[in-house]
Amino acid sequence: MLNQTLNGLTSGAIYASIALALVLIWRATRTVNFAAGAMGMLSAYIAFSVIDHGGGYWLALAAALGSGLVAGAVVERVLVRPVEAKPPLNAVIVTFGLLILIEAAAGMIWGETSRGFPAHFSVRGLYIGGEAVALSPFDIFVIAAVVTMMALLVVLFRATNLGLRMRAAAFRPEIARLLGVRVGRMLNLGWALASMVGALAGVLIAPKVFLSPNMMDAPFVFGFTAAVIGGLDSPIGAVVGGVALGLVTSYVGGWSALGPSLEVMGAFVLLIAVLMVRPQGLFSGIKPRRV
């Protein structure tokens, strides 16, 4: 039970960061970035290349985060801004197309086979009171990294003038423009930060699931589910949804011999349950509409 909880918290942290990346983009441009996972995968490959060429882990991590920032900014400016004012389906098609493009490109550059990715800390479970627990130094690092990232984002958004301008640009872009806020730049920065979060998720998950172009497919689905559960417009919802989903899939997965194949089922059940009770998401401020 304890092991499943610890396991759930670690994967929950990853799902929460993917969900958070999706929520940040949703709040900025009212689009779902279906390529969020793939962009994170790309950043993980860039980190891998740095290590492969002799760079240290921290340099590789910095390179991944930096490439995430750049990728987010470029994608928003070049691909998303032209379709921002158009029907939502256009943005869906664009980001889906980008997902396919990035996965194909990664396959061509680095090959389709899975590779190992170094975890800078030990992945062996710690011993507490003589018993091995499902929490390794690397797991602690994962949780700490995600929590630190989130804390920094909270400080940025709530305590800085830049964060204030970004929030205004996301909430009421027209009003923000009248007040002199350069809304285009703020939305672009939102995408850049969100992609940086996705890059962190990619680097943190790579040691466990092994680096491959499809590496982020399943985690992305879980992250997206977590975001929907928490409310696509709520950062707190993303975190709660992510952790909840991590815990639920961990408990369900460890429950019987069928375990791992039930994980997805467990996620599905949680999603349906939330959508039936509160379809806009647990922490969302949106009113649901009957169709």
Partner: protein, 235 residues
């Protein structure tokens, strides 16, 4: 001086403004009146660039405002208080106000401006950290106006500031506008459906009907001429 010249604005098939021209002298108050759908809101939105005109221009301080990005208009000294509830609900009163001046680099002056706005609207001091969605209509409008004043504008455009407000609050706001105009030389363009309120402080009146200027005259003359008033303003 703010000069509106031959402004024609379309929304698809509909012509919301047709060849609208008038001048607003520096430091004066101009009331823009007319029934619903006359084009008053479209006029303000065209001046500040939220909507692009098909023809015409708006000259201020040597710039054609219609050729600027919206976010640059406030940098020219023109502030716009849009109609309806324009405060950002999710932000606090303080955050809404501070937002108005963030484009200016002088931090000390921004703090001074904030203090001045709280002096102008003492009621808001007790509500500083409250999220804007908890405010009443009157308080919300004070925040919207205060926020516009934070940028130290030379021209202030207001779209129906009195809508939904108690008469006492309306009188307070009108008195404040007249005072600012007289004391600080603020140029005011006031769109109102409530003609009496606007006429009480205006120096000049523009009446729009179906997108065209049908009357452009001295406010005092319009107030005193019953025939003119009844014909164009209905009372």
């Amino acid at each position: 001086m703010l000069a509106v010249e031959g402004l024609t604005t379309r929304y698809g098939e509909i012509e919301a403004l047709h060849d609208v021209s008038f001048a607003v002298p520096e430091g004066s108050i101009t009331a823009v009146l007319g029934p619903n759908g006359a084009g008053k809101t479209t006029l303000l939105r065209t001046i500040t660039g939220l909507v692009r005109p098909e023809r015409g221009r708006v000259l201020y301080d040597g710039h054609d405002l219609t050729r600027l990005h919206v976010e640059d208009v406030v940098r020219c000294g023109v502030a716009h208080v849009p109609e309806g509830r324009s405060v950002i609900q999710e932000l606090t009163v303080d955050e809404n106000l501070r937002l108005g001046a963030l484009w200016r680099a002088d931090r000390a002056d921004r703090r001074r401006a904030l203090a001045e706005v709280y002096d102008l609207f003492p009621l808001l001091r007790g509500r500083r950290r409250r999220p804007a969605f908890t405010l009443s209509g009157g308080e919300s409008q004070m925040v919207a106006i205060g926020r516009a004043l934070m940028s130290r504008p030379r021209v202030l455009l207001l779209d129906e500031p009195s809508l939904g407000l108690a008469p006492l609050v309306v009188a307070q706001i009108m008195a404040m506008l007249r005072d600012l105009s007289a004391r600080a030389g603020l140029t005011v363009v006031l769109v109102e459906q409530n003609a009496t309120t606007a006429l009480s402080i205006a120096g000049q009146v523009v009446v729009l009907y179906l997108g065209r200027v049908v009357l452009l005259d001295d406010a005092e003359r319009v107030t005193n001429d019953a025939t003119l008033r009844r014909h164009y303003l209905g009372f």
